[in-house]
């Protein structure tokens, strides 16, 4: 079980949350300007990083807010959580 620190509700068990994949992948502002390869890269390619990983979570069974969790994918240790406002 992961104890996920929701920035609004505090630490809760992971079954209250939905995983939303890697964070910091902004939607291209002008998709039509992209080549097929560039679009596919945005759509499908993820880093699958070992170690520190910024990822999106939603507190589905709580406040329903999306936020960013930093997690070590090797140890599953959660290193922190932040709201989108606070994100770079």
């Amino acid at each position: 079980m992961l104890l996920i620190p929701c920035p609004w509700c505090g630490p809760r068990e992971d079954d209250e949350f939905t995983f939303g994949g890697e964070a910091d992948i902004p939607r291209p502002t002008d998709p039509d300007a992209l080549t097929d390869e560039e679009w596919a890269d945005y759509l499908f390619m993820r880093d699958n990083r070992r170690g520190r990983h910024r990822e999106q979570w939603c507190h589905t069974a709580g406040c329903r807010r999306w936020f960013i969790v930093e997690r070590d994918t090797a140890t599953n240790q959660i290193l922190g959580a932040s709201t989108y406002d606070a994100s770079p």
């Binding site: 079980m1 992961l2 104890l3 939905t18 939303g20 902004p26 939607r27 291209p28 002008d30 998709p31 039509d32 992209l34 097929d36 679009w39 596919a40 759509l43 999106q56 939603c58 589905t60 329903r64 807010r65 999306w66 140890t75 599953n76 989108y84 406002d85």
Partner: protein, 994 residues
């Protein structure tokens, strides 16, 4: 004769509370405080089971959760519990205990012929027979399954109650032996909230088994006093009968608490269980250590017992596990057992010690008592059949030292810390040569104390426990200097252990020598595994099934590490130990399921009209968690008859459908239109208030995700309908984009699915029914045209009425507050009765929409279908971007041979195609036949008087009218069909516009 092996004095049993249980129907006299195992031993019962593979007779080996043999079946009928250990089950009045894995009886086991005919099945047998000869496998399987029975499941639903408890605490202490009690006491003293869990009925652990003193009083008295103090403390939760069986991420610890009944006729027996999910801030592990067995020939004979267990039976239960003992050891602890036996009047005929010069305090004391000690000696072989009869001693060089008669052979190969929870917490371990075992590396986040930390001396254990409790409490924020002094005990010095794994030279040839008693894994099996290249301990485990029994190899694994290291000529540290996985001890499935069974397994959602549907005789179908009215058969009607009647009623007169399950999301705010523009393929900003539009939602991959009608309620407010199954996923999807990507949009999303019930009237007379039910909405065609919505009242209730249609008929979808929906429904039915109104269910709804070629997301689509594939390319806006748009121009999205939605008409109009049936050009001998597509929906259409089907066919739209074939699912036939336009009925859409 009762309890011939009960000692006259001592023990923690209550001699004033005799009780009787049965073993295989035979009455067993015991006392309150006994376990099943101690009760059996008191009555001289040593044969308790047959082994898993060879059905060799087996006896009680230990006095705890590590026993590989003493698995029994408890109780009977619905309450029976398989896989329980006699060594930890309290003896209770009337308890029915049965052996497992022997047939027809323990004494005359047919399967032990297995052992006579084919003496030993080599490791890897299962794998090899699976490979070759394969055709014999069913035979082997039949035989092995019968041979490998381990108890049986209850034959009726379990009447006991199982619950899950979620708990938090500052310090969880696992194990209530000396270290655990000291730790709990120290932690509780600081004011921290403490949970102390122990697997036994009585806290105290090893203190109950020895004669050692703590704080100048007998160990058990100190344990009782400490437990009394802890029970009185408001910040301590004491959980006896509770096994911590798994430790997970975030230090979540699962405990299984066996619930003990106090009902008079079976007081003390187990009725149900509780799973505790505990999230402690800090954990103190005081899980103790397991004594290691030793290898010699026939080391599995009943009467061969761990030395420590012998002390436990003598001291704690006042039972003599035998009448003449031999001990075999490589460390000092067995001498304590020798002294315990001597004290109890049980002669010790010999102590074989592999060490050449055992000279510690305990060996000296044993010698002084006149016990014959054989230094540098080992047991080569145990004689005897159903019980050990003698031990054959020899020197380490193999020189015979004589055969000593005995019926009890105590063994001690040292102690291995019970690292299970420590390892599950990812605690690092290291090889400790003074223990000849793995022990935790110090300084990890959880706090091991006592034997689990490799500390076998009582005084040091108490100091360590006190220290661990204080440290854990401080780490949890309770460092108020309120420290307690560690309880005191005598320090004794023990001479070092001398590791003994593989019997030297010819001694290793004595057969059989069991490494894992439960799984019948022998020394030869380990050798074979290594010879065949399976050298990693994890490979040895899988090849031989080492440690795979319900005992989790608690005794076998630490022994195997040393044996494998020696066979490979390597350092045990590099061999390691198999991964310690939960559960530490068997946990019943009922406990794991808890209350999540039957109707509580998954919520059932019903609409406000549920009771009405039931009274009307509806059959129901599950749609996700929803129970929906499927069809309403009248007396004598088949499903086919009922659906045909309902379909024709809608096409000719009027029908009424409970469509409350549709997802409904209100999208409000100044930027709501812009938001819809981004998530739907078509344009929304210019939709006028009061109008409705059908929309398609795509994933970013361009594939259809959901569809439905959205109405503009007013300038800044839209109501979006989603498909029933997608209500939650669509809301989550919209929220994600809004929150993560477009936080600048001023848009708010609210699920109103359950606030508004939805009643659909459909059919040429639906306008008349709505008028007759009473409404202030003007219904004339020009006042309330198709694809608009009006607010007003229906049957006196505030309503939003939508002129949208999923049947192709004149239709009104009437949204009313859920608490008034039943009233409105009944008013409409009453008003419609003279017009022949007919309630219809989901099946008719599906037929009607298929006649119109309307898709259902998830039926025609499967996550690989674009709007163009289903003929909805016209809904794709060219003037704006939207989610998924870029993907629609990827090369794969514009292939001309993509599967496309077509209709299929069978040559035989009565033939209904199987849904899921493969579509091919022509049947032929080629296998596999090239597949053109598949049937997605298929029904008999009553209004058309023939079957219809929708299908996804490669390149299908360009070749309408072509001859195709569909495979039947159950017999090898091909049904000839022709493709056609997927709109079978009223292709101009005239009927919904009237």
């Amino acid at each position: 004769m009762s309890q011939p092996f009960r000692l006259n004095r001592g023990g923690r049993i209550d001699r004033h509370a005799p009780l009787q249980f049965t073993f295989d129907g035979r009455p067993i006299d015991a006392y309150n405080g006994d376990t099943v195992a101690s009760g059996l031993l008191a009555n001289g019962v040593t044969l308790v089971g047959r082994s898993f593979k060879y059905h060799r007779p087996r006896g009680i080996v230990s006095a705890g959760a590590e026993d590989p043999n003493a698995f029994v079946q408890l109780g009977h009928g619905a309450r029976t519990l398989p896989n329980r250990l006699a060594t930890v089950t309290p003896a209770t009045p009337g308890l029915k205990v049965r052996h497992v894995n022997a047939w027809p009886s323990l004494e005359y086991d047919v399967m032990s012929a297995f052992g006579l005919v084919a003496p030993f099945i080599p490791a890897g047998f299962y794998y090899k027979t699976l490979m070759w000869p394969r055709r014999f496998w069913p035979l082997y399987e039949h035989f092995l399954r019968h041979a490998a029975g381990l108890g049986h499941a209850p034959d009726a639903p379990d009447p006991d109650r199982y619950d899950h408890v979620h708990a938090h605490c500052d310090v969880l202490v696992v194990g209530a032996g000396p270290a655990g009690l000291a730790a709990a006491h120290a932690a509780a003293h600081t004011g921290a909230r403490v949970i102390l869990a122990d697997e036994q009925a009585e806290p105290g652990g090893i203190l109950l088994s020895t004669c050692e003193h703590v704080d100048d009083q007998p160990g058990p008295n100190w344990a009782d006093a400490t437990v009394a103090k802890l029970s009185a403390a408001p910040n301590v939760t004491l959980l006896p009968n509770t096994t911590a069986f798994g430790l997970y991420e975030s230090n979540l610890v699962l405990l299984a608490e066996r619930l003990i009944t106090d009902q008079p006729d079976h007081a003390g027996s187990e009725h149900g269980a509780r799973i505790w999910r505990v999230l402690p801030k800090q954990i103190v592990l005081a899980t103790g250590a397991h004594e290691r067995p030793l290898l010699f020939g026939n080391n599995d004979r009943p009467g061969v017992m761990l030395a420590g267990a012998i002390s436990t039976y003598v001291n704690r239960y006042a039972v003599a596990p035998g009448s003449r003992a031999v001990l075999f050891t490589n460390n000092d602890s067995a001498y304590r057992t020798a002294l315990d036996l001597t004290d109890a009047g049980i002669p010790v005929a010999a102590i074989a010690d592999v060490r050449s010069d055992p000279d510690g305090d305990l060996p000296s004391e044993a010698r002084a008592q006149g016990i014959p000690v054989y230094p540098g000696a080992v047991v080569r072989h145990a004689h005897g059949g159903r019980r050990v009869a003698a031990a054959e001693l020899c020197s380490l060089d193999g020189d015979p030292l004589g055969t000593v008669e005995c019926d009890l052979l105590g063994v001690s190969g040292g102690f291995a810390p019970a690292l299970h929870l420590h390892a599950q917490a990812r605690g690092p371990s290291q090889w400790d040569p003074t223990l000849a075992a793995f022990a935790p590396k110090p300084g990890h986040g959880i706090h091991p104390a006592g034997a689990v930390a490799g500390e076998l001396e009582l005084a040091a254990t108490l100091r360590q426990g006190t220290q661990a409790g204080a440290t854990a409490a401080a780490a949890a924020g309770y460092s108020n200097g309120n420290e307690v002094e560690a309880p005191g005990a005598n320090d004794s010095t023990q001479a070092p252990i001398q590791p003994y794994w593989l019997p030297p030279g010819n001694l290793a040839r004595a057969k059989p020598q069991f490494v894992d008693l439960h799984e019948d894994v022998t020394l030869d099996d380990l050798r074979l595994s290594l010879r065949e290249g399976y050298e990693s301990i994890e490979h040895v485990k899988r090849y031989t099934t080492l440690g795979m029994g319900p005992d989790q190899g608690k005794l076998a694994n630490p022994l195997a590490t040393g044996v494998i290291a020696q066979l490979l000529g390597r350092d045990p540290a590099s061999v390691g130990t198999p991964r310690h996985r939960p559960a530490y001890s068997p946990v019943s499935l009922g406990a794991i399921a808890g209350r999540h069974i039957g109707p509580l397994a998954d919520p059932v959602r019903v609409t406000p009209m549920q009771e009405w549907h039931q009274v009307a005789g509806a059959r129901f179908e599950n749609v996700g968690q929803w129970r929906r009215a499927w069809y309403y058969p009248q007396p004598g009607e088949s499903m086919h008859d009922a659906v045909a009647r309902e379909c024709l009623a809608v096409r000719r007169r009027v029908g009424i459908l409970d469509y409350s399950t549709l997802g409904k999301i209100e999208v409000t705010g100044p930027d709501a239109g812009e938001f819809l523009d981004r998530v739907y393929t078509n344009a929304w900003k210019r939709l006028r208030p009061g109008r409705c539009r059908y929309g398609l939602m795509l994933g970013e991959d361009g594939m259809i995700f959901d569809d439905g009608v959205t109405a503009r309620l007013d300038d800044q407010r839209y109501l979006m309908f989603t498909s029933t199954a997608n209500a939650a996923p669509v809301l989550a999807w919209l929220e994600q984009w809004l929150q993560t990507e477009w936080p600048d949009l001023r848009v708010y999303l609210t699920s109103v699915s359950e606030h508004w019930s939805n009643i659909a009237l459909a059919g040429p007379r639906s306008r008349d029914v709505l008028a007759a039910a009473g409404t202030d909405i003007r219904l004339a065609r020009q006042d309330f045209p198709f694809m608009t919505f009006r607010e007003g009242h229906v049957a006196g209730v505030p309503a939003r009425v939508f002129r949208i249609s999923f049947s192709g008929e004149l239709s009104y979808e009437i949204n009313v507050p859920a608490d008034r929906a039943r009233h409105v429904w009944e008013a409409l039915v009453d008003a419609g009765r003279p017009l022949g109104i007919t309630p219809y269910g989901t099946e008719t709804m599906h037929v009607l929409r298929a006649e119109k070629g309307f898709i259902i997301v998830g039926q025609e689509t499967d996550g690989s279908v674009t709007p163009n594939d289903v003929g909805l390319g016209r809904l794709i806006s060219r003037r704006k971007d939207f989610l998924g748009k870029r993907s629609l121009s990827r090369p794969d999205s514009v292939r001309p041979d993509r599967k496309q939605l077509v209709g299929l008409l069978t040559d035989d109009p009565a033939q209904v195609l199987p849904e899921g049936g493969h579509v091919v050009d022509a049947p032929g001998p080629r296998r596999p036949l090239p597949m053109r597509g598949h049937v997605t929906s298929s029904y008999f259409s009553p209004v058309l008087g023939r079957s219809i089907a929708l299908a996804m066919v490669a390149g299908g739209r360009a070749t309408l009218g072509e001859r195709l074939h569909v495979a039947t699912l159950h017999d090898d036939r091909w049904l000839p069909v022709r493709s056609c336009n997927p709109v079978f009925y009223d292709p101009q859409g005239a009927r919904q516009h009237v």
